[in-house]
Symmetry: C2
Subunit: 219 residues, 2 copies
DNA sequence: AAATATTTTTAGTCTTATCTAAATTTTATT
DNA sequence: AATAAAATTTAGATAAGACTAAAAATATTT
């Protein structure tokens, strides 16, 4: 039996360790979980006893295969619920995260598999993040960040790195959504801002925007 | 802030006290919650301090207006999720209760109101129980229990009292569902069994079945 | 290589929700 | 009305998950 709190720790470790690949430090987890390092130490011991993480004192943790499986399953649930909220319940993409944070802990294989079928097996959540299938396999797409895009080329917007309400609302107000076509017009070396053409307008986006928007080549 | 456990206790008190009307005893709550009377005493004290119940030592509890409001809201969520599971995710009516038991605790006004709209404002859950609206009003229908039905009359099946898997599966196997038309053919005084006509068959149901099936007059 | 700074762990508390055992109150029976 | 039985509450423990303060280990500077 795994608790809600353990699930959240495992998910945090998965994300902080670049999808379960790298070692993660105590302080990093504490910051991500908005708790204290001492609480993290306690929890790490428990996760280690339950074989969700490999742990040597003072040396940080990595997820075991079991831990990765748990993490991927929670992410699967989180993202499927996000799709449900946007597609069926008219939530906007900046409203879904908090509710999904709770829904992801509902434990029912049948529920999540039927939900996936009901949503017609979506491959990406409302922020463009891939949804793992029942076996934990991700559907990867070739994407680059806007700040690395090339002048004159046409791209399609396929994801965001920052999922904060303020960034998503910024995109809304500038008519940028997943699927929007973007042509790179000019890259300003002075401040790394980028001028782009959308449907019928041209706008300049700052470096911080350009670093948080993912694009896919259009052929 | 109300915890998941507090919500479950309040719901239990609501049901045991005939929808929040009667006094409920400690032992009854303990049995319903599958816990010990001493734990119930502790929780009652907390609920009383938070003004969800009126409580005098050794005299049992009743829900306050606040307590009733909480209870009705959880029931609203529970039943809407049950409808969702049956209508959209192909759960059968004997599979929904356990999952709804968890989903009912997700805290988001928007989520539940949008879900209600998505389901087109259902008035009853898959077991025929009424779903309160946002303000807590129930939609009541005139229903009687099969054991009190009159010979020769045609009724429509509108609900069940027992929602156990075994009873619901019994009804399934006898082709009795919500909406099924039932004509009373004979009431056997010896064992209180009842012979009924369904679509094209006639069956005899025992007293315990007859006491758990709700009917509505058809004119 | 010491000294200092940072990170991590341990020790000791707190709260919530549970339990068992014992004490108390209420109810039922003689 | 006294006694026995049943219901309820209290007392004292436990486990999970958090915290603060202090100790220990590791990393960084001098
Ligand atoms: Mn979560
Ligand atoms: Mn997302
Ligand atoms: Mn519940
Ligand atoms: Mn129901």
């Amino acid at each position: 039996m795994i608790t809600l709190t353990e699930e959240n720790y495992i998910k945090a470790i998965y994300h902080l360790g670049n999808n379960g690949e790298n070692i993660v430090n105590t302080n990093a987890i504490a910051e991500e979980m908005r708790t204290k390092a001492s609480s993290v130490s306690d929890m790490i011991k428990k996760l280690s006893e339950k074989n969700y993480v490999d742990y040597k004192k003072y040396q940080g943790v990595t997820l075991t295969a079991d831990g990765k499986f748990v993490a991927i399953n929670i992410i699967r649930k989180h993202r499927l619920w996000e799709v449900f909220l946007v597609e069926k319940l008219n939530f906007s993409w900046d409203e879904v995260h908090e509710v999904a944070e709770h829904l992801e802990h509902i434990k029912s294989e049948k529920l999540i598999n039927q939900l996936e079928a009901f949503l017609e097996f979506p491959k990406h959540d409302p922020h463009g993040d891939p949804i793992p299938d029942k076996e934990g396999n991700f559907h990867h797409i070739e994407k680059i960040v806007l700040s690395k895009a090339e002048i004159g080329t046409v791209y399609k917007c396929v994801g965001v790195d920052d999922t904060s309400t303020s960034f998503l609302k910024y995109l809304d107000s500038n008519k940028i959504a997943l699927g929007t076509l973007i042509t790179i017009i000019h890259k300003e070396p002075y401040d790394n801002s980028i001028k782009i053409r959308l449907d019928d307008t041209e706008i300049v986006v700052s470096q911080s925007v350009a670093k948080n928007l993912y694009l896919e080549m259009v052929n």
